[in-house]
Symmetry: C2
Subunit: 243 residues, 2 copies
Amino acid sequence: MEITSKTNQKVKQWVRYHQKKYRDEDQKFLIEGEHLIEEAIKHAAIECIMVRKGVKHAFSSYPCYVCSDDVMDKLSMSVSKADIMACVSYLKAPMKWGNRLVLLDQVQDPGNVGTIIRTACSFGFDGVILSDQAVDLYNEKLIRSTQGALFHIPVWRQSLLEALEICHNHQIPVYATSLHKAVTLSDMKRVSSCALIFGNEGSGVSPELLAKSDQNIIIEMTAFESLNVAVAAGICMYHFRKD
Amino acid sequence: MEITSKTNQKVKQWVRYHQKKYRDEDQKFLIEGEHLIEEAIKHAAIECIMVRKGVKHAFSSYPCYVCSDDVMDKLSMSVSKADIMACVSYLKAPMKWGNRLVLLDQVQDPGNVGTIIRTACSFGFDGVILSDQAVDLYNEKLIRSTQGALFHIPVWRQSLLEALEICHNHQIPVYATSLHKAVTLSDMKRVSSCALIFGNEGSGVSPELLAKSDQNIIIEMTAFESLNVAVAAGICMYHFRKD
């Protein structure tokens, strides 16, 4: 099917997915670029592919719309306009609770959250839980930062107090990063199950979650004492990685 | 001094510093926000402060321009327009060679480079060297991502082949991250001096640098096998941190 008009009904519908409220309404989102589509194919439901006219691709088993340059440029959210995109259904929450979890308390930057999801996937974590106030999972920059990991590891939104309770019921120890009353990371025994809480970029993990965690962890630093949350999370996840 | 016109000569001059070529010409750059200015004061030469009319500040020992809203909005490069900015002289390369160094080979994303500088500072590294093709050090997003660490640790641009030679002359072992012929990070002995090379987001460390490094390192991963370069660098720098 070919689309050459920016006012085509399909185009209008897809462009609405640049905004969270319309994504939530239809439970669908857009992804850009061959790499993300390849990753999505493995674990997500792709509704259709949109491709720039003249561009070859290997996704012929999906409904495909060949789009003119101005249509693609309108659909794409990235600065370097995409040649291929897909419309994908929202991901489902997992059926079973994992052993290695990452809990993100009001982490706001989409790049940070996407990077943490990517790292969690690489170190064999079973899931990433976003608190109610954390950034939207289907934010374009977040998806891009995951490099496709989003389609390999369950990520969902849940009250973290509720999540902590489930962890406690499953005898999963909960560790929060904090500068106070904390054990240094290198003194922490590597364990086969744990839930790690990382906090907001400015204010850290909130006091009510710190109060319910089993242990506070501090990453030993020499000077300056300031780490980006995705870096701090990466260092902790490496320590508690699955062998 | 009060400035109310966007066509004021000073304003025109500062706005030029949004572009690299004019920064390089005058060897000056702009920073935004109270926190960065506080950090800059300790180690950099501040030429003047620009403050939004009505906003109080504690930098009264510097020449200060009180600017109208439209002037400040024009000067500021961030989405959430700054209330206070400063014009700062380019940083100087350090006088002596350090023991713990980070070498960035064509790392392109300003957020990644800024985050790596921030991490290097926190783990007691002595300097960060950018390869000729790496992103501009005075890029606004890079500076913001350092959270001020830029003013606490020497960062400079140099041919990395030249830097490697100096490291070898100083008997500093050079480690590069690579997926091939590599020793796992946790098997690496913690040493009191080292130079760590991290590569471009897409292509990694270039072959000519890998050929001249003393050892390749790989970060053990469980699955997916993909890490953001700032996260990978963070994990390695934590391992080789200064006690």
